[in-house]
Every structure is written in structure tokens, then in C-alpha cells.
Amino acid sequence: MIRGESWQKAEVPGPIKAFLIDDPKRLAILIKRAKRPLIIAGYRIAKMTDKLDLVRYLIDLAERINAHVVVTGSLIKEFEKRGYRYLYLMPAMEVVDRLMDSEWPGFDGKGNYDLVIFIGFPYYYEWLMLNGLKHFAYRHLRTISLDPYYQPNATFSLPNMKIGEWVKFLDSLKDNV
């Protein structure tokens, strides 16, 4: 299992590929540089691991880095329960469409985001959304995939990882932002 290869093997990227980040500290630095980060959480976070409460985790992370969080589906209920001020609900396709528009004022009217963190989507679905942003939003934003897979169309991606390894990575990331 090559770490920097598309997880779905056929979904080979074009010439522009994500920087593979396997050091959580490095990723933390990259994230901290963002002025307006956004986290997009897909419904699959509910199924990814039982070793970590991902809802809690994402809220914690968002709090630390001052990110807006957009949840794309029914998991919004879970997120609402935990309470977070900058929590929004919007289908992923609509978010991506807006992210491509550099004039979009964001969820709070203060402008588009400069860093978008994806987690919890079907691999190909995320691959495609990231690719849209790679080509059409690269001037104003960068993207990170936090899934335990190499997502070649992000700006920065984790490698293909086992779940245990990934959970550790996430923990360390949180500690370092």
C-alpha cells in the first residue's frame, strides 16, 4: 500500500498532486497559517472509527484554529448537541460551488475561506470536489484532506493509513494546532 497513491487505485490524478503530509506537526503549522479556515464534515465521519469521537474532535479542532464548520447532512444534529458557534449546514455540492467563487462572503459575510479541510466523504466524491477546487479555486484557497487516505487533488493530504495510525495522527494534530 503505497502511501502517496490514490486510495481508489483507478482514480489516478493529473499532473498536479497533493503534498503528502505524514507529520501532524507540519500539518498543524500549515493549518495555523490560515486566516479563514473552514472544516467540511461529511456524514461518513459517523462510520469511520469508534476509537475517536469525530464530532467532538472536529469541534475541538475548529475551536482551536478558529474555523467555521459546515456539516453536510444529518450529523448536524450531533454537532448541534455539542454546541459550536460557527456551525453551518449546507450540502457539500453547494459549499464547493460557493468556495469556487472568490467573491462569496462565507457563512458570516466576512469573505471566502483560505483553507478548507475535508473529512468524511465517500472517496470519489471528495476526490471530485477537491479536484473542482484544485482547478477553479486555487487562486484564493488551499485544501486539506483529513481522511485516512491519500487524496491527490487536495493541496495537502494525509497518506493512506490504517485507522489506528490515523487516530494518533489526528490526536497529535489537535495537540499541535
Binding site: 493529473g14 498536479i16 450540502p91 455540492m93 470519489y124 470536489m129
Partner: protein
Amino acid sequence: MARKLKIKIDELESGIARIKGLEVSIGKIVEEWEEPEGPTPFPTVADLREWDLKLLSRYKPMYMPFCDLCCLCTFGKCDLSRDKRSACGLDMATQQSRIVLLACSIGAATHTSHARELVEYLIEKFGRDAPLDLGMDVRIEAPITRLVCGIKPKTLGDLEDVLDYIEKEIINTMAATHTGQEGSNLDFESKVFHMGMLDHLALEVTDIAQTALLGFPKADPNAPLAELGFGTVDTAKPVILCIGHNVVPGAGIVDYIERSGLTGMVEVCGLCCTAHDIARYTKGKTKVIGPISWQLRFIRTGVPDVIVLDIQCIRTDIPLEANRIGAVVITTNEKNCHGFPDKTYEDPDVIVDELVNRKIPGALIRDPEKVGEVAVKAALKLAPLRAKYKALPSMEEVVNHAKRCRKCRECERACPNTLPISEAMTYAANGEFGKLAELYDYCIACARCERACPAQIPIFSLIAKAAERKMKEEKFKIRIGRGPIQDTEIREVGRPIVLGEIPGVIAFVGCANYAEGGKELVEMCEEFLKRRYIVVVSGCAAMTIGMYKNEEGKTLYELYPGDFDAGCLVNVGSCVANAHIAGAAIKIANIFAKRKLRANYMEIADYILNRVGAVGIAWGAMSQKAASIAAGFWRLGVPVIVGPHGSKYRRMLLGRREKEGNWYVYDARTGKKVYVGPVPEHLFYAAETKEEAMVMAAKLCMRANDTTKGRAIKLTHYVDLHKKFFGKLPDDLHLFVRREADIPITMKDEILSALKDKEWKEMEIPDPTLLEELVRRRI
């Protein structure tokens, strides 16, 4: 615009011009239709481009490239990343739209080719003058044809004019994909719409021809129920399996059985759309195995003796799979020869011998009657010899295979749904088959896992074996395709739909490339049925929907009536019957609202966009045909939602609700531009989850013309579904509530307070249109 009229002569007897049955029926079509011709008979893409660009200025294409390269000519590969342009000057957006057009071209060509061969076959059999009788209740026999071409087809022969037009236009439109032609992504999108419209025409031609002449149910809400599912097959009998989309060879088999007095002695079952149509042909007497993803499921059980392939959506490795189980394969169409020797002119008994004794790898027989004879005779001969094949691997074999698993996860990396196969193998190696059996529900039976497995474990067979009990219990009912919607039904539901009192028409259509199993589709379907939407289904989706039962053992088809009415479940039929869904929308404009149909595309599409709350959900849309069908709906103003895999169509058509300027219409009464809110908000959209899809579908049913009562009903469902799945009110209600009266009474306080936060103000309710020419200006 003047239009060529062609006159058909029956046939030339020989090379020398002796003609019989000459019939110069000039003006026939025109004379019998008092309605004056509208502005766009037999339109080319340029004739409707204005409409397309209107739609596209609201619903902007959003591209998610599925490939960053182009490999279509020898300048390539070209890297189109970001701001690069290719050797032919294209940028990424334009390339993506070009590929969408190419996909839709394939789709439309495929449907048209089917239409043409079917019409030719029926003409040969019934003559060019055979009437297109769809029954008493269907006077508007061909709404799409009337709308697009501006003709009223009366006979099979008339359909040839339609086909000539479609073929010419497909060619003309797809030519734009050649290196160095169209350079604008919006113009490519306009051509996509055009291609979709042509596709719908072809669907209509096919389904009205076969419905009229092959004895299919004619707009019958009480069309019989057929048996559905693997478990309904009597495996003790010789089994013939038909796969594909063209009913003709299947009909040939059924006819031969009847003719030879073999009724009841051979099982004929169908898979994919041909299953629908054979069942329509036999009024429900043949078995429907299931949608496209049941091909391997069924063949791996070893049950079928003879497999008859016609066209479209057929696994191309069927000959290999058949070979493994000792079954024989007959191909029936030049589009799908499989390298088999052409036995069209061979003696049937010789072919049977060659097939059964493996002298040939399979036979191509382009003669449906002969297919019937050969398939039946071969099945009868073969069945007794094949007993040993009729089984999946044993449980012991499963364990042994599972033990060989190296946990490399290559299978998972090949699986479109990234199913947890390696984990299931671990359990299976220890004799626990639950995990393996679970995969069955989420697996689309594509076998990519097997091909990727370095240990050559027949993964899919293992899954099937683990789920064997489930499979055998697949015994369901499906209401067979009823074909068109009656004019009278339209008359009755037209008003409540247009005014918004029926909350919407939801059409579940398309293929079975589900990301999370077919059950999701059933749940969605049931939700809308309970909410008394009109639910229409077709194709593979219609089969999937029949494949679940409630606690009392009833399928949705048994629980809900087949009328085109609120809270009913209408199976129109196979994919080509999708024409009737578009046709119903068109007929609403015509029958209920008296809008002129003839060659009047833009006005009718404008009507549907602004007034007919219809939404398509193609949850497992897979193919190029599905793409072109969707495109046909877009141009008509009907939004389409696809499942997650639909994102691979690489282009969405999305509105931006907050962009106020995008949501103005003309008030046809005054010519004033009036804000109506984002209704419908999107034209094409890949949802992530079924919950998202349901909420979105309810929302997309809102249209500018809703009365306050209608809007209140639609909002009720939108809000209710939103609360149910997302736990709270939608935050965009202020865009949909035009006056207080729009607010559902039961939700009044809650919504009003939410509106206050958004500084909501009352809006006008116009007589909405996007077409300036429809404004009846103040005199």
C-alpha cells in the same frame, strides 16, 4: 420555418423500380391538426439556444473534472490543469462540458439506435401504416414529438420522420466535440440540453411504438403484478435469461414457447430493462430478476442455462461467466456481436447442436424468431446436462478461499464503494459469514475486487454464497410498466400540481449504481408516497423499489395504487418509458393549462420550470444514457438529483439562492420583473445522502406559480423533512415564503419568528415566465 415532408413508399420489389403500395399522403400530418405551428418545428440547437442560455445563466455549470487531461487527439495528452489551455486552445471548463456532451451523445445515439431498429422491425411486421394506438385515454399519444417536431404521429411510418430528424441532429450536435469546434462551455452545455431533448424524443418513439404494437399495457393504472427476484425462479425448469433493453428477442422466445406448446415448461426471466418489457409483453407472466447489478448475482448461482443478450448495460464479460457455469450465450444484435459467428442464416437445429456441444463459443443470431427457437431448444437440451453447475461454492470452499486472503486490501481499493472486504475475509476464514453476507446489500456486483485480488479469490462468489439465504428469499412483486399517463389523469391532477396542492411529482429513475445499497431508494420512495406525492418510477430503479417488503410481506407496489395521483406509485416501465414522465409534464401544460404544444418548446419548458413541481431522482445513475435522459429533463425545466456516484458526471447545474438577481421572472400580466425566490434552486445535483436528497427534492418541488395554499403544502413537507433529518428549521425559508399565507398554519409561529431574523418582507406572486415574448403587455 418550413419543414421537409417525406412520403414513404412501401418497398421496392427488386432492383428495378416496381413499386407497390405507393401512397402519397402529403399534408396528412398537418391537415389533421388545427393547432397552428409553433415557432420551433424540428429545431436545431441554435433555435433553442436562447432558452438554454437563460437556464444556464441561472443554473451555472460547476465543474469537478474527473480527469485533468484530454486524450482525444494526437496532439494530446493535453494537461488542462488550472489556467492551462490545450494544444487546440481549450480550457478545463470547456473540456469538461465537451466530455459531458460526448457522454450524452453516446446516450442519445444508443436510445436512437434502439428506436430505429425497433421501428424498422415493427414496420416489417405490421406495416408502415400500423396505427399508434395507445388506447382511449391517451389522445395525446406523443407529447414530446408534438412539442419538439410539431407533428402528430399517427402511424409507425410517421415515426421514421422523427427518427430522421433525431439522427441528423445528434450527428450535427455531437460533431461539436471534434477537435477545434465549439469553444464555449456554455454552448457545449446548450448542446448537451439539445442532445437530451433528442434523447427524450427517441425514448418516446420507442415506447409508443412497442406499447402500441406489442400489446403492452396501455396507460393502465392496474397493470398486473409480476414476480420479481431471484427466489421466484423455478430452478427445476430449463432457465432462459434475457439481459438488455430490446424486447424483441425476448418476445421471440416467449412466442416460440407458446407456439410450441411449451408454456410453463421453460422459465423465461429478464434482467435490466428488457425484463420490464418482456413482462409488459407477457402481461406479467415472465419473471423479473432485478436491475443491472443482478447480472453476476444470478449467473454465479449457475441457474441460467441459456443467456440471451440484446443491447445496452450488459456486462461484457458474460460469455466468460457463462462459460464458467456451462451456460450458452446468444447475442442478437449487431451492436453486440461479442465476436461470435453470425448464425442468422443457419438452420436452428444446427445452431443448437453447435452451442450445446461447444463447437462455437456462442452464436450471433440477428433474427428474433430464430433466437426464440434456438434459445428454447438449447435450454431444453442443456438443462439436464447442467445440474452440477447450478450452485455457488460450498461453505467449505468459502472458508478455504478466505484463508488465502493476504489482507492487502487491493480489493477494497478496486471496489467502487470501498467495501470492507478484507475484514469480512478475516471473519469468514474463521467460519463467521455475517460480515461477508452484509456486503451483499452494498455491493453492486461489479467484480472489480476479484480482478484486483492477487490471490485470485472469487470474492464476489463468496459474498453471494454468504448471502445465499437472502438471495433465495428474494421473492417480490412489481407492477409491470403501464406506459403513458392518461389524458384524463392529467386533467384531474393538472390543477393541484400546478397550484401546488399536490406537493410534487417525484420520479425515481435510472440505474443501480448505489453508493449504499438499494434500500435507500425504497426508503425515499416510501417517504414521498406517505406524504402523498405522485411517485413515478422506471428502469432499474423501479425494480429496486420492488425488492423490499414490509413486515406483512408486501412490497410498495402492493401497498400503493398505480394511478398517476397523489400517494400513488406509477411504474411507467423500462428506461425508454421515461418519455412518459416528461410527457406527463408536457401534457399538464397542454391539457390542463391549454398551452399550445405544437413546435412550441420554449413556452412549454418555461411553463414546466415555473409551474410543474416535478423532480427526478436517479439515485444510481450510471450510464451515458442516464446522462442524456437527465439532460432532456433539464431543458424541460425539471431538476434531477443523483446519488453520490453521480458526481462522476463531473458537472453540476447549481443555482445560488442568495444571488437575488438570478431569481427574477417576468410577470406575464404586466411585463414587470418580479423576484420569485430560488424556485427551483438547482437543475442537477449529486446528493451525498438519502436524507439530503429527500429534503432537496421536497424543496425543488416549489415553483414560482404555487398558490399560497400550494406553497404552504410544499413548505410543510420541506420544513418537516428538514426537521426530521436535520433537527431544525431550514435557514432559507425567507426565500420561499412570499406572504404570510404561504406559511403552513401548524408552523406559523416558529416560521414567522425565523423570518423576522432574516428581515423577511412580503413578495409578489406573479404569473411567472422567463420569456419576454409571453408577456401580455398592458394595453
